[in-house]
């Protein structure tokens, strides 16, 4: 795909397809996630996932041209995910009614494991939201029709992160 981020030297703002992009490392990402999870409890999962879906969907809608096949759309989404530093996504197990997406390496999953050790519940709310956004864009679906659940996570000891996708 080739990520062409525009950096405006007058404002020091970097954008990609209308989205302001900021550098942050795993320390901040995982610590912020933990802060919000501790403060909001069960409500945090929905927030973290929906926020990711919102941001990613806006960007992917701009990046993926209309008329692009779902397969190519997923390829672009996976390439972007990797280039932005979030890890890898394998969309090959996905169809128009849903399926499974595997992340052999997830920034959020690995970061949590490295910083805080194993946890009981999956850690990849951001990737879950990103996957949902990719499905919406690839199949031209409204957000209400897509549900993503992380069924296993490296932060819980699994060998890879696995997302179950349901299209209503």
């Amino acid at each position: 795909m080739g990520v062409a981020i525009q950096f405006d030297a007058a404002t020091n703002v970097a954008t990609l397809s209308g989205q302001a992009m900021v550098f942050h490392c795993h320390h901040y990402n995982s610590t912020l996630q933990r802060t919000i999870e501790e403060g909001m409890g069960a409500e945090a999962f929905h927030l973290l996932t929906i926020a990711a879906q919102e941001a990613a969907r806006k960007q992917l809608k701009q990046l993926v041209s209309s008329g692009t096949s779902p397969k190519e759309a997923f390829s672009q989404a996976a390439a972007l995910f990797a280039e932005l530093g979030f890890g890898s996504l394998d969309f090959s197990g996905l169809g128009p009614r849903g399926g499974v997406v595997i992340s052999p390496s997830s920034h959020y999953g690995m970061s949590w494991l490295v910083k805080f050790g194993e946890r009981k519940d999956p850690a990849c709310e951001f990737p879950a939201g990103y996957v949902a956004a990719a499905v919406m864009v690839a199949f031209h679906l409204e957000p209400e029709r897509v549900r993503v659940r992380e069924a296993s996570c490296v932060a819980c000891g699994a060998p890879a992160c696995r997302f179950e996708v349901e299209v209503l």
């Binding site: 490392c25 795993h26 320390h27 390496s105 690995m110 490295v114």
Partner: protein, 99 residues
């Protein structure tokens, strides 16, 4: 006898969990960079006040350093995490032409 260079480890945000700094017997020359096997990209940013290089060997390591200095940082890829020191030494030996 396999050569072994002095090392120190740390973690940072710019590469991976195991970042190993290897002390080399001499300063790094530009010609040394070409010896690293399997490099997908080799960048030398010599417009900087101190020329900086980065060599990416996918699936093995990322090497970074400053030309003419005697240390190189080896960011070992996750897949080799369990033999990180060995991989770092391999990288250093390739750089020094002793592999």
């Amino acid at each position: 006898m396999v050569l072994s260079y002095p090392v120190a480890t740390s973690r940072d945000c710019f590469g991976g969990e195991v970042l190993i700094e290897v002390t080399l017997p001499r300063g790094i020359e530009r010609a040394d960079l070409e010896r690293v096997r399997g490099a997908a990209s080799l960048e030398v940013l010599d417009g900087f006040p101190r020329p900086f290089f980065r060599i990416d060997v996918p699936g093995r390591f990322l090497l970074t350093g400053l030309l003419l200095t005697t240390s190189v940082r080896v960011t070992v890829r996750q897949v080799h995490r369990d033999r990180a020191f060995e991989v770092a030494q391999e990288a250093a030996r390739e750089l020094m032409g002793e592999a």
